[in-house]
């Protein structure tokens, strides 16, 4: 099952490699991993999307907690949460695609952020599955390039991950 794990860790060089190294060394999946400093520059916040059985997820959480630089770990799937991912898609925008892409972009509440002679670049945010759905919905032959950030997650309401 897919899990979104949020963690806070010391914002030090090599911190990311410790997490990435743990996942590869123990054979855990990473679907996506995003990281950036928080409002407190000494802390980094990381969101890891992974899949595994309950036992594997339990081990992942324990092993992450064991990393000395990791301050807090939270499995967002343990409660209500929100996930958002940003995707940039460059699509063909000539001939039949010109209107079609604009229309699909509107339906998915994306924004065209760059217009060139033959292409649009569409910015789309939402849950991972919404971004997947957009890719599914448009004509594959129109896609020139995609780039996704991976999911960022946050708990709903009072669920707060803070030191």
């Amino acid at each position: 099952m897919k899990h979104i794990i949020s963690l806070l860790m010391e914002n030090e060089s090599g911190a990311l490699s410790r997490v990435a190294g743990l996942f590869s060394a123990r054979g855990y999946n990473i679907e996506s991993l995003t990281v950036a400093a928080t409002e407190d520059p000494t802390l980094s916040r990381m969101t890891i999307v992974t899949t595994g059985s309950d036992d594997v997820i339990e081990q992942i959480i324990k092993q992450l907690n064991k990393l000395i630089d990791v301050v807090k770990v939270l499995d967002l799937n343990d409660g209500k949460h929100i996930e958002r991912e940003l995707m940039l898609v460059k699509v063909k925008a000539s001939g039949v695609f010109k209107d079609e892409m604009k229309r699909m972009c509107d339906i998915f509440r994306g924004r065209i952020i760059d217009v060139a002679d033959n292409s649009y670049t569409i910015e789309l945010t939402g849950s991972c599955s919404k971004l997947d759905a957009f890719i599914e919905a448009i004509d594959k032959t129109a896609i020139l390039e995609t780039v996704r950030t991976g999911a960022s997650g946050i708990g709903r309401g009072d669920r707060i991950l803070k030191v």
Binding site: M9, E10, S13, G14, S17, R18, G21, A25, D55, E58, Q59, K62, Q63, N65, K66, I68, D69, V70, V71, V163
Partner: protein, 582 residues
């Protein structure tokens, strides 16, 4: 360390070099021995060592041995072991030692030199990304990039190494940083918001565990290296005696419970005793203490899980719990404190069930194999050597081993009554640890009897340390069980590869007697079973001499019982009748 050698409690000094700060930190940590090898990147540190007398530096002959010796010093004493190596090849040579310590949770601080900060990343001479290379095999590591951070980093390194589940910590220090000047202030305490190891176990869980134990009909206590490292042996003995329950130790846990005690059923696992494995498999309540149900211990986890039993697991590391086997009552905490709390409850309560049938069953299992091996009057049996070693040393030696058949025989036939006496590489299974481990033990206790049980394959992996042993007059006794084979490889080839002994024969062996003598040691070769005891007595009577004993043993002796890879604990192979082939 002589406390007079250092300035009194003063923990700050103005304007000294980074190298001097390193030394001062080690003095503050009351380090007695630093095992190391000099080189370009650590020259400033070695210059500072020259000018100090707080600790003794032990010059090894290969960096791997420095880390192994520091590791054994820690295993024998419980203190943090310290090794010092230079950058690049010095650092990479240390890796096997670090990985070995990591797998067995041994607290070490390994200080490695690094190229100067401006040269990092430039493929400089003797540069290696030590923090990157060691990341998967350390508890934590640091690269120090500012002289002002040296003291706080080393303080953290010692703290991290010895607290929680212990482990090795690497501190990589660039050469220029050791030349920079700073004021030395050694922090009194460490505060890390990201690291706060637990100590006390959850009282509710502990009560629940004791209740389950008291109601058990077929109880079993299974303890591992964590019990030894957590200094929980005394509390465990108290607990086991109060309950009168059977106890088994893992390879790493030998000595955690006295092997000569009647409640002890021997080591369990791949080469465990028949009774220990059967009791483990068939118990209804299992108390696991500082052990991790690894593949060499419980065999196939599916087979093990096929029998219903309630498992209580005490471990300081939450990630060790429910990793390979689902646990019913997890207790995260320091084994000593958790066991003490259990004993406290047990002063009020006694077992509710009569387990005499269980003991009777175990008694029957004891008779099935009982550690028997076929004695010979013409050729030396390796098991016999270990039995005699136990007798001659009165069971009170530090016994180190390398890895392979001799390791298993030492574990099976030397009855360890005390913790921290059996020093081996259980997790990583590192051939070549035996001799440097013996060095670490002898430094830990200069007057102790130290025996290194080894094979002719393993001993040659760090044989250069014969020179270190000569330099420091270490009266170690090497017990070489020389069967001219990589015995365990050969045994597996016999069992699983139809006797195709691919590259497992050890040809072109040196004359070990002459080799030992060339270093100024005593060399002995023993070929007759009747000479074994006398030779051991003679060797151990030479209290100030390093004695290398080359026992020419049975070539194709096998280790039994054996649980084949992937098989269940109760599916042991036992030796067939005389002359029969496996």
């Amino acid at each position: 360390m002589d406390s007079k050698a250092n300035p009194p409690a003063e923990t700050s000094t103005k304007s000294i070099t980074g190298a001097e700060i390193v030394i001062r930190c080690l003095n503050e940590e009351k380090v007695k021995f630093v095992f190391g090898y000099p080189g370009g990147a650590v020259l400033h540190i070695y210059d500072a060592i020259y000018k100090q007398n707080g600790f003794k530096h032990i010059l090894v002959r290969h960096e791997q041995a420095a880390v192994h010796a520091a590791d054994a010093f820690s295993r024998a004493t419980g203190e943090v072991g310290v090794a010092l190596v230079t950058s690049g090849p010095g650092a990479t040579n240390a890796i096997t030692g670090i990985a070995t310590a990591y797998m067995d949770s041994i607290p070490l601080v390994v200080i490695s030199g690094q190229v100067p900060v401006p040269a990092i990343g430039m493929d400089a001479f003797q540069e290696v990304d030590m923090v990157g290379v060691t990341r998967p095999c350390v508890k934590h590591n640091f690269l120090v990039k500012d002289v002002n951070d040296i003291a706080s980093t080393i303080k953290k390194a010692f703290y991290i190494a010895k607290t929680g589940r212990p482990g090795p910590v690497v501190v990589d220090i660039p050469k220029d940083i050791t030349a920079h000047i700073a004021d030395f202030v050694y922090p009194k305490t460490v505060e890390m918001r990201s690291y706060s190891p637990v100590s006390k176990g959850h009282s509710g869980q502990i009560k629940k565990a004791v209740k389950l134990l008291l109601e058990a009909k077929r109880p079993m206590i299974y303890t591992g290296g964590g019990l030894v490292l957590g200094d929980g042996a005394e509390e465990l003995i108290k607990l086991a005696r109060a309950l009168n329950y059977p106890v088994t130790n893992t390879l790493m846990g030998l000595g955690g419970y006295p092997a000569t005690d009647k409640q002890y059923v021997g080591m369990l696992g791949m080469h465990g005793t028949y009774e220990a494995n059967m009791a483990m498999q068939n118990c209804d309540v299992l108390l696991a203490v500082g052990a991790r149900f690894d593949d060499r211990v419980i065999g196939n986890p599916k087979h093990f899980g096929g029998v219903k039993r309630t498992i209580i697991h005490i471990d300081v590391d939450p990630s060790s719990i429910s990793k390979r086997v689902k646990v019913d009552v997890p207790i995260v905490g320091h084994v000593q404190s958790v066991l003490a709390e259990m004993n406290e409850i047990l002063t009020q309560e006694k077992p509710k069930t009569n387990i005499s049938d269980w003991w009777k069953q175990i008694g029957e299992w004891r008779l099935v194999h009982g550690g028997r091996y076929e004695q010979s009057s013409t050729v030396i049996k390796p098991q016999y050597v270990i039995e005699k070693l136990w007798e001659v040393t009165k069971g009170d030696a530090y016994v180190t081993s390398d890895v392979g058949q001799h390791q298993m025989w030492a574990a099976q036939y030397y009855k360890f009554d005390k913790p921290r006496r059996w020093i081996n590489s259980g997790g990583l299974g590192t051939m070549g640890v035996g001799l440097p481990y013996a060095m670490g033990c002898q430094f830990a206790d200069r007057n102790a009897q130290v025996a290194c049980v080894t094979g002719e394959g393993s001993i040659q992996m760090n044989i250069q340390e014969l020179s270190t042993c000569a330099q420091y007059h270490l009266p170690i006794k090497v017990i070489l069980l020389n069967n001219r084979y990589l015995g365990m490889v050969r045994q597996w080839q016999e069992f699983f590869y139809e006797d195709r002994y691919s590259e497992s024969y050890m040809d072109s062996l040196p004359d070990f007697v002459k080799l030992a003598e060339s270093y100024g040691h005593v060399g002995m070769q023993i070929t007759q079973p009747s000479d074994v005891e006398g030779a051991l007595k003679e060797a151990f009577a030479k209290k100030d001499k390093f004695v290398f004993m080359d026992f020419i043993t049975e070539q194709k002796e096998n280790v039994f019982p054996m649980v084949e890879n992937g098989k269940g604990l109760s599916e042991m192979e036992l030796p067939k009748a005389k002359g029969a082939k496996q």
